[in-house]
């Protein structure tokens, strides 16, 4: 089992650990719901060093990413990032990721932990001689600082705070150390993701935590991260999307730029767009506190129309919420459905995501 540099520090903060994608990671430091509330009302700090970080550099780097991913990386400016996906030739999603352009011929991809090796292999196999692909995951740590007070916390922690738009990225100094900072996250809140060398990551984490004290910053684990991303309607690879799901049915069409030209999966996705997808990923909001669980059948008028892929309890709205695929022709907001949980039917409703207003 892989451990991050901060493993012992998390234990000293009272973390309960869990296993995820081959890593031992903090599940929570106390109450998961309190951590969710901290991020929604103040700020939370997550150690997400398990996320794969891949450097793609060289003259052909941009062209490689343009060919292998669905969004338009060709128009990505230096200091900006973009959500995109790698697809196979059938249009199935190999991985979803954020790509940052840090220099003319240098990109950083932030990918799912479970897919890091698969992505590296794919990038390497498609790379021409003028592209270098490097795995930075092992040398660096990666933190997410999220919540309405994230900006204030960063301002208190950093010697220089870059002015960033959403998905902007720049370098900053925290505790005298050079860090990469981007205005991104997986919670729906304002916030930053911060990368730095392992040699001073403990210092950076502790500086952020101390600076966040007056703001009520809470260290947060994977448990809260999952609740927050479902409330925000963000898909999770391996749950809501995989190689058998395409971006169109997963509601990610706006990250597929057909007009940019050739890319792997384009032909298959063109076909899906022309015929329309068979199923669509939708939000389901329960009428009570029952919790949708992956695999739960979704019924309308007594007939099964789909299945839940992710679910949780939303402390923010006080109801169970979930994501799941339903037959595309049934996909209308407001549709009354029933979820079968432990052989009992619970009423819910198809709703637009995100579940919260941000």
């Amino acid at each position: 089992m892989k451990q991050g540099v901060l493993h012992d520090l998390h234990l000293s903060l009272g973390a309960r650990m869990t296993e995820f994608a081959g890593w031992t990671l903090p599940l929570s430091y106390g109450s998961i719901l309190d951590e969710v509330r901290a991020v929604r009302s103040r700020a939370g700090l997550f150690d997400v060093s398990h996320m794969g970080r891949i450097e793609v550099g060289g003259h052909g780097a941009g062209a490689l990413l343009q060919r292998l991913t669905t969004n338009d990386i060709g128009r990505l400016e230096i200091g900006h990032g973009r959500y995109t996906m790698m697809c196979n030739s059938r249009g199935g999603i190999i991985d979803d990721m954020v790509v940052f352009r840090t220099d003319t011929d240098r990109y950083i991809m932030v990918v799912n932990a479970a897919n890091t090796q698969k992505d590296l292999d794919r990038l390497t196999s498609y790379a021409s001689d003028d592209v270098a692909v490097n795995d930075l995951t092992w040398q660096t740590s990666f933190f997410a600082l999220q919540g309405p007070l994230a900006r204030a916390v960063l301002a208190a922690a950093a010697e220089t705070v870059p002015e960033l738009f959403r998905f902007g990225s720049a370098l900053a100094r925290i505790a005298g150390n050079c860090c990469s900072v981007s205005r991104t996250g997986y919670t729906g809140e304002d916030g930053y993701e911060i990368g730095c060398s392992n040699s001073y990551s403990v210092q950076v984490w502790e500086t952020l935590r101390t600076a966040g004290g007056p703001s009520g910053l809470a260290p947060c684990g994977l448990g809260a991260r999952d609740v927050l991303r479902i409330e925000a309607g963000y898909v999770l690879y391996g749950r809501d999307i995989d190689e058998d799901a395409n971006p169109i049915e997963a509601g990610l069409s706006r990250f597929v730029r057909m007009e940019k030209g050739e890319f792997v999966g384009r032909e298959a996705l063109q076909g899906v767009l022309e015929q329309g997808p068979d199923r669509l990923l939708v939000g389901v909001r329960m009428e009570d506190r029952s919790v949708p669980r992956p695999g739960a059948p979704i019924l309308a008028n007594g007939a099964t129309i789909g299945q839940i892929t992710s679910g949780t309890f939303s402390p923010t709205i006080g109801r169970g919420i979930g994501l799941g695929y339903i037959a595309a022709e049934k996909s209308l907001p407001g549709l009354e459905v029933e979820l079968v949980l432990r052989e009992k039917a619970y009423p819910g409703r198809v709703v637009a995501t995100p579940f919260l207003e941000f």
């Binding site: 309960r16 599940l27 929570s28 109450s31 998961i32 719901l33 448990g223 609740v227 009570d288 506190r289 029952s290 919790v291 669980r293 949780t312 309890f313 402390p315 169970g320 949980l341 432990r342 009992k344």
Partner: protein, 128 residues
């Protein structure tokens, strides 16, 4: 002592408090701490017959759903209605306000198979 002396405990982490032939049932402090935030509880209706070691409901924590196993047999005569909208009572006060059901028991001797507070504490330490 976290675990009340006068209660009896099951290996599946339920507690029983007996008054005459009425058994009040809940889950232990250890169980709630392992589950984390409890967000939903599914309990039987009044009048339901339940059996020792049989399912009587379920609890949803944020991460997972878990079975509730009855430590006694009998008929459910009361259900803690507060848990429907405030399941966090189970986290906050598992041995008192977080009680789940009251069962009119058939066989008082069933309680002899359960653990005392001391035995349960040892059992939990061994499991942890």
């Amino acid at each position: 002592m976290i675990y009340p002396d006068e209660y009896r405990y099951s290996k599946t982490h339920e507690w029983v408090s007996l008054e005459a032939n009425l058994a009040k049932i809940g889950i232990t402090d250890y169980a709630q701490s392992q589950l984390g935030d409890i967000v939903h509880v599914e309990l039987p209706e009044v009048g339901t017959a339940i059996t020792q070691d049989g399912l009587f409901g379920s609890v949803d924590s944020v991460k997972a759903v878990s079975d509730l196993i009855s430590p006694v047999s009998g008929e459910v005569v009361e259900v803690n209605e507060d848990l429907a909208e405030s399941p966090e009572l189970i986290n906050e006060d598992p041995h008192t306000a977080g009680w789940m059901i009251i069962v009119k028991i058939d066989e008082p001797s069933e309680l002899d198979e359960l653990m005392s507070a001391d035995q349960y504490e040892e059992f939990v330490e061994a499991e942890a």
